[in-house]
């Protein structure tokens, strides 16, 4: 006597989840190109990333609108409602992560064609970026599998990025008296900062995984009330 109903609605919801999480793949690709542009001081590639951000914004707008329509027409409740709320957060984070890649890419022309770069600092930024890409992939897997433990592990992974960011800061302080090198280091600090925030966005997605599964929202880490 139990029969499945609302099949179309369920299919639509699954399609939108795949589309929202697919946004994370777009971001991961954008971050990969951003790192390449930083490594090779490739201004053209950086411009490509900036132009390509329209795709990420387009995905955000498209899925966001479809979710609003679903809310208006299907009256989702319980797990479906939590999933839709979480997807809206995921999309916002996807859009922010895309913008952070753009922020980094816009810095690349500012440092000039042959910048007085510091190899160690560039290496740190590339490591941060690679680690952040791993976080993005892990956030996607945790969401798709509804794996709260994997989502919570993002905090540990994010600590690595935070530590690298602090190392960048220390390196910038010790960069020396040369005005050009100091300017370059300050610019690169902004890039490091943008990548660090991108990793935070991945952690925020992890928090949404816990919300979908448990129905309770908990910040994994609370910047205003840090644990000692």
């Amino acid at each position: 006597m139990v029969e499945q109903t609302r099949v179309y609605y369920q299919e639509e919801l699954e399609k939108l989840e795949a589309s929202a999480l697919g946004g994370l793949d777009l971001v991961s690709a954008a971050l990969g190109r951003t790192l390449e542009a930083v490594e090779h001081q490739d201004v053209e590639l950086a411009q490509l990333v900036v132009a390509d951000d329209d795709r990420i914004d387009g995905r955000y707008l498209e899925v966001h609108q479809a979710l609003i329509t679903l809310l208006a027409t299907q009256s989702p409740v319980a797990t479906d409602l939590r999933l839709i709320s979480a997807m809206l957060h995921v999309l916002k984070n996807v859009e922010r992560m895309g913008d952070q890649c753009v922020n980094v890419c816009k810095l690349i022309p500012l440092s000039g064609n042959e910048p007085p770069s510091d190899e160690e600092m560039v290496k740190l930024i590339l490591t941060m970026g690679t680690q952040t890409r791993a976080l993005i992939g892990q956030a996607k897997r945790a969401f798709a599998d509804r794996d709260v433990e994997l989502a919570h592990d993002l905090v540990r992974q994010d600590d690595v990025v935070d530590d690298l960011n602090r190392d960048c800061f220390r390196l910038a302080l010790e960069i020396g008296d040369d005005a050009d090198r100091r300017e370059w280091a300050m610019t690169m600090l902004l890039a490091a900062r943008a990548i660090e925030r991108t990793a935070d966005n991945a952690v925020d997605i992890g928090e949404q995984v816990a919300f979908v599964v448990t129905g309770l929202f908990r910040e994994f880490e609370d910047a205003s009330h840090p644990t000692p």
Partner: protein, 297 residues
């Protein structure tokens, strides 16, 4: 959110601002479902079973219904929600072969005790039905009917006006009180039935799908009315419209049909009963989840 590395400022101003925020901020752990304060119980059901000619319609229902709450009963057709509603004011007594077992307390007293007068019960616990059922009389006489039967004839005009105002109908009918009630629209007729119900000053109103025959505007008016009326009365509503339960009720009970091993007999059973917000955002039982999200019929 994750730590924002740029906001590591430790100025006095920042510290003071943080202290001010801490005093007003609601920490997430303080959020919890449910109201902890003790609520006055109107009905206490313990292992209630209703049988028609010896066959169970609902079984093993245990729940408390609280004062000044709107309590919604939801569930698929045949799950016994109307049966359960009707045993709350002994309407099932009127059906030959109907039998109620278990304990059903009303304000702590056995509703089915030998000394209890069913007519007195129905005076205190009024009922509004699916289809508006005004008497073939004037608007005024419909509302005045109950008080007249009960011998409350003093100041009848004031009683009628109060009841019509309470049912949010006064402004629409004050100039045609002597007109036949059948001249009203469906929504107005249903509000007239609510006025007729509250004119005898009950303590609880039972509503059996009160909006299923009404258009969305009339439904909206009845729903607003329920929210207004709950400050004075306790309301129990049976509805097929889950969004209506979500909109108007404080607590929701989900019943579903259960079958015996050889699928010969079926009866209704209470699956989950909780705060409405909990039922519609994070129900504890998978069957509730599937029903409220419309995944199973």
């Amino acid at each position: 959110m994750a730590q924002d590395e740029s906001r590591a400022g430790t100025g006095r101003e920042a510290r003071e601002a943080a202290a001010a925020r801490a005093t007003i901020a609601v920490r997430p752990e303080e959020f919890q479902h449910g109201r902890d304060i003790a609520r006055e119980k109107v009905f206490e059901l313990n292992g209630v079973e209703v049988l028609y000619s010896g066959v169970s319609a609902v079984k093993d229902i245990s729940m408390d219904i609280h004062r000044n709450d709107v309590t919604a009963l939801i569930g698929p057709s045949g799950c016994g929600k109307s049966t359960l509603l009707r045993c709350l004011n002994r309407m099932n007594d009127l059906i030959p072969g109907a039998e109620v077992n278990g304990e059903l307390l009303y304000h702590g007293e056995d509703l089915y005790g030998p000394a209890v007068d069913p007519v007195q019960v129905r005076k205190l616990i009024g009922m509004v039905f699916q289809k508006p059922n005004p008497f073939p009389k004037s608007i005024y006489d419909n509302v005045a009917f109950g008080p007249r039967v009960l011998g409350r004839k003093d100041d009848l005009d004031a009683t009628v006006e109060k009841a019509l105002r309470g049912a949010a109908l006064w402004d629409e009918v004050k100039d045609r009180l002597k007109s036949n009630a059948f001249g009203l629209s469906g929504g107005q007729q249903q509000r007239l039935c609510i006025a007729r119900c509250i004119a005898v000053q009950p303590d609880t109103i039972l509503m059996d799908e009160p909006c299923s025959a009404l258009d969305p505007i009339s439904t909206g008016k009845i729903e607003d009315l329920m929210i207004e009326l709950k400050s004075e009365f306790s309301i129990v509503i049976v509805t097929h419209n889950m969004q209506q339960a979500a909109r108007v009720s404080d607590r929701t009970a989900f019943l579903m049909v259960e079958l015996d091993a050889d699928e010969q007999n079926r009866w209704g059973r209470l699956v989950e009963y909780d705060e409405t917000e909990k039922i519609f955002t994070n129900p504890a039982d998978r069957r509730t989840e599937d029903y409220v999200s419309g995944k199973v019929g």
